[in-house]
């Protein structure tokens, strides 16, 4: 399935759009329930482990990306606005294992809309700096991992 990925350097915003052939309530749950989030959030071979999550304005999700060798990279997402089944916003930052955020972070805006049984998710991520984006890529998604993922993709395509 196609994904749109647009980087606007002027507004320092990355926009990601993807359509899913499923109803909105299901997609919304996948984004807002920890037990579902952990099943897709981390790009393989990483895994996502949510330690605490409270989906309400002022609440947060504190989770780790866990590498295959068990290395944990913690992140904190604070929910700043929620319009049920329509939109939510969060402030995203890396953190230490004691939940202390490492600033600067990024502001995320996620919009959900349904049409003819399909759900479109539009995510816009505002980053203070490209350096942070670089850090994000580096935080465990080192080049080796990326090529590993490419290999996996290639393999899956052939099956």
């Amino acid at each position: 399935m196609n994904m749109d990925f647009i980087v606007d350097k002027q507004t320092k915003t990355v926009s990601i759009t993807k359509e899913f052939a499923f109803e909105l309530s299901l997609v919304w749950d996948a984004y807002t329930k920890p037990e579902l989030l952990d099943q897709w959030w981390a790009p393989k071979p990483f895994s996502s482990r949510t330690k605490a999550m409270d989906f309400r304005v002022g609440g947060r999700r504190f989770y780790a990306m866990v590498s295959p060798d068990g290395h944990e990279r913690w992140a904190l997402q604070k929910y700043t606005s929620i319009s049920p089944k329509t939109n939510f916003k969060l402030f995203n930052a890396f953190a230490d294992e004691d939940e202390n955020p490492e600033l600067p972070g990024s502001d995320w805006d996620l919009t959900f809309s349904e049409q003819d049984g399909s759900t479109k998710v539009s995510i816009s991520i505002y980053n203070e700096s490209l350096e942070r984006l670089e850090k994000m890529v580096e935080m465990g998604f080192k080049e080796g991992t990326m090529s590993q993922m490419e290999n996996l993709e290639d393999l899956l395509a052939k099956l």
């Binding site: 350097k9 002027q10 299901l26 790009p43 490209l130």
Partner: protein
């Protein structure tokens, strides 16, 4: 410290329209601050400030030729930007494909 971090921010370097225009010009050929100032109808001082920021971001290199300093673009550094973004794009692609698979699995279980 903060100022230094901000100046090294490549996003900031390319966010300014004049700096983007400078990048476009020196990508074609090395130019002196005076030549650039003429092209932009701006002071040499202003151009020098932009060049300093670009230099701190390691997007440009300087070469002394006689009494003039020529600035040229570090193409490799620009490529790095694309490389980062490509990796970031891949993370999202993988992530959202996984979500797609998960939704299909849940849907099948419901049946």
């Amino acid at each position: 410290m903060l100022i230094q971090i901000m100046r090294r921010d490549i996003f900031q370097a390319i966010a300014d329209p004049t700096r983007r225009a400078i990048i476009a010009l020196i990508a074609i050929q090395a130019m002196t601050p005076n030549a650039l100032a003429e092209r932009f109808d701006t002071s040499r001082q202003a151009v020098s400030k932009h060049l300093r920021i670009l230099t701190e971001c390691e997007l440009v290199t300087q070469e002394q030729k006689g009494r003039e300093i020529y600035y040229s673009l570090e193409i490799e550094k620009m490529k790095e930007i694309d490389k980062w973004l490509e990796q970031y794009r891949k993370i999202w692609e993988t992530r959202l494909n996984q979500l797609d698979d998960l939704l299909a699995t849940i849907k099948n279980q419901e049946k």
